[in-house]
């Protein structure tokens, strides 16, 4: 059965699995990186099934490659589907980007050019995945470090057009908005204000690294003050949206992650009071 996802959770990381399995932690919900659990019958799935009995879960993947012009990887989609049917997460998300092309897989999130052609292509792919999974998909905005010459609209107009055409939901990564806004010199509030409120299912928060020439979305630091401020504005607009702390590099002890999630819950309580 699926537990409802509410409040502020954390991304499940290998370092913490034993602690989380062995002791009942006060965690509102957990998000798994779907790609790490796609080996059928593996010990990883074994852990996941155990965790699913105790915590509400969401699935977050990188391998769908929604923006790729290669054929959809049906083996990947069917493995995700089998796991979704077994665990029944609250929802399934992936990114508005491409990760593979011409038979090569980067395992990284590469932005798309914002054009009408891309809107048609990616929304069709999202629909195809939604039909296969028999579920709505939730798609996330990525951080970016470049703008294509041929892009003909803003990132938020592109995102809105895609979700409208595919009729899917949004995972709004507030840190990614901030990182891209700094890297490409746009107003992050203009981004927030363009997003349709009813489609936002989840918010991500993470820490970036300032490289001097650009901000890099490393998920290796605490959430920055500027991103906390933007998050408060997001909560003002979108309400008490379930929020997740992502931390992938220099992963700290579990209490540090939980304190970060508690901080997000405090921001929600303060803004919505």
């Amino acid at each position: 059965m699926s537990h409802p996802v509410k409040g502020c959770g954390i991304g499940l990381r290998f370092q913490h699995i034993d602690t989380i399995v062995d002791s009942n932690q006060p965690i509102p919900w957990l998000e798994i990186l779907t790609d790490n659990y796609l080996l059928p019958g593996s010990v990883q799935q074994d852990y996941l099934f155990e965790i699913a009995e105790h915590y509400p879960l969401t699935f977050h993947g990188v391998g769908m490659s929604l923006g790729s012009t290669d054929p959809l990887d049906t083996e990947y989609v069917s493995r995700v589907k089998a796991l979704v049917e077994r665990v029944n997460p609250a929802w399934v998300s992936d990114h508005l980007c491409w990760t593979s092309a011409h038979g090569v897989v980067t395992h990284d999130l590469i932005p798309l050019p914002y054009t009408e052609e891309t809107i048609r292509h990616v929304s069709q792919r999202i629909s195809q995945v939604q039909d296969s999974l028999e579920r709505r998909l939730v798609i996330e905005n990525v951080s970016s470090y470049l703008q294509y010459q041929q892009s003909a609209m803003s990132e938020w107009d592109f995102l809105c057009a895609v979700v409208e055409a595919a009729d899917c939901d949004i995972l709004l990564d507030v840190n990614n908005i901030y990182v891209s806004a700094c890297n490409h010199d746009f107003d992050p509030l203009a981004y927030l204000n363009a997003i349709p409120v009813q489609r936002v299912r989840e918010i991500h928060l993470a820490g970036y690294e300032d490289r001097g020439t650009h901000l890099l979305d490393t998920h290796g630091y605490p959430v920055s003050d500027a991103v906390w401020a933007l998050y408060a504005q997001a909560i003002q607009r979108f309400g008490a949206v379930p929020t997740l702390i992502e931390w992938d590099n220099n992963v700290p002890e579990l209490p540090v992650l939980l304190a970060e999630a508690a901080k997000a819950a405090e921001v929600q309580a303060r803004v919505l009071a």
């Binding site: 080996l39 593996s42 010990v43 012009t69 038979g103 980067t106 395992h107 990284d108 020439t213």
Partner: protein, 256 residues
């Protein structure tokens, strides 16, 4: 330019440093970075992700080669053999052969064998879960069935042999508090070692095998029938069989 063409230029630049300029033509220069530098961020990011992954797979090789050499080797390997599947855990199988062919490592071929051991551990960890063996039915097998009886190793079982002391080299690079820790200076590198890696539940095991046990388990892996095993191992068979069953090296049996 169409989306497939754009992705082609970009993916080529990510896995070939010399192709950056063609992709840079697609990208705006602005702020503190020009277009080529922006493409470079993505090349570095992809290589960084895959290097971190290879480092997690090959931690002992990383220690043996040093962080700098390992990163350069990883960079080169990723360009030569980029991932082709979305399942990251499948990536890196060819790293041992890549090291064995590396010009700088021709006097240190044992490092490639250590990489094979680390890949075997990765394979064993990712193998399917299987129910514990039940040998009580073995008593009901009649003589005719015995002639067609085949023993089965766990799906996680990985048998390796090397002309070098790979098991001890591996142990020498475990944390200080690990029980079987060996000092690298004390081991004799040039000795044939036969190693079995397997997974039992949520634990990975790695043991050194003697020649007879290694031959016995290899024969089982090759689906030799019981009479063939009896003929080959003669009086040794009962003891070999008992140890293998007790240690969990034999998962089950089938009658063909």
């Amino acid at each position: 330019m169409s989306l497939p063409e754009l992705q082609h230029h970009f993916i080529t630049a990510i896995f070939n440093r010399d192709q950056r300029d063609a992709a840079a033509l697609l990208v705006k220069s602005h702020g503190k970075l020009d277009a080529a530098q922006r493409v470079g961020i993505y090349r570095n990011s992809v290589h960084g992700i895959l290097w971190q992954y290879l480092e997690s797979l090959y931690p002992v090789c990383q220690q043996l080669l040093g962080a700098e050499f390992f990163e350069a080797a990883s960079d080169c390997y990723v360009d030569q053999q980029p991932p082709t599947r979305p399942f990251l855990a499948e990536y890196g199988a060819g790293f041992a052969d890549f090291l064995a062919a590396h010009p700088a490592l021709q006097q240190m071929l044992w490092i490639a064998d250590v990489a094979r051991l680390e890949w075997a551990r990765h394979q064993a960890w990712n193998a399917v879960n299987q129910a514990a063996a039940d040998f009580s039915q073995l008593a009901n097998v009649d003589a005719a069935q015995q002639a067609r009886l085949v023993l089965v190793l766990p799906a996680s079982a990985q048998l390796l042999t090397s002309a070098y002391a790979i098991h001890q080299v591996w142990l020498a690079h475990q944390p200080e508090d690990s029980p079987e820790k060996v000092a690298l200076e004390q081991l004799e590198l040039h000795q044939t070692q036969r190693v079995l890696v397997w997974r039992a539940g949520r634990r990975l095991h790695q043991v050194l095998l003697d020649e007879a046990t290694w031959a016995f388990l290899t024969a089982i892996q090759q689906a030799n029938r019981l009479p063939d095993l009896a003929e080959r191992f003669q009086a040794q068979l009962p003891a070999l069989l008992m140890t293998a069953v007790q240690r969990g090296w034999i998962l089950s049996f089938t009658v063909l």
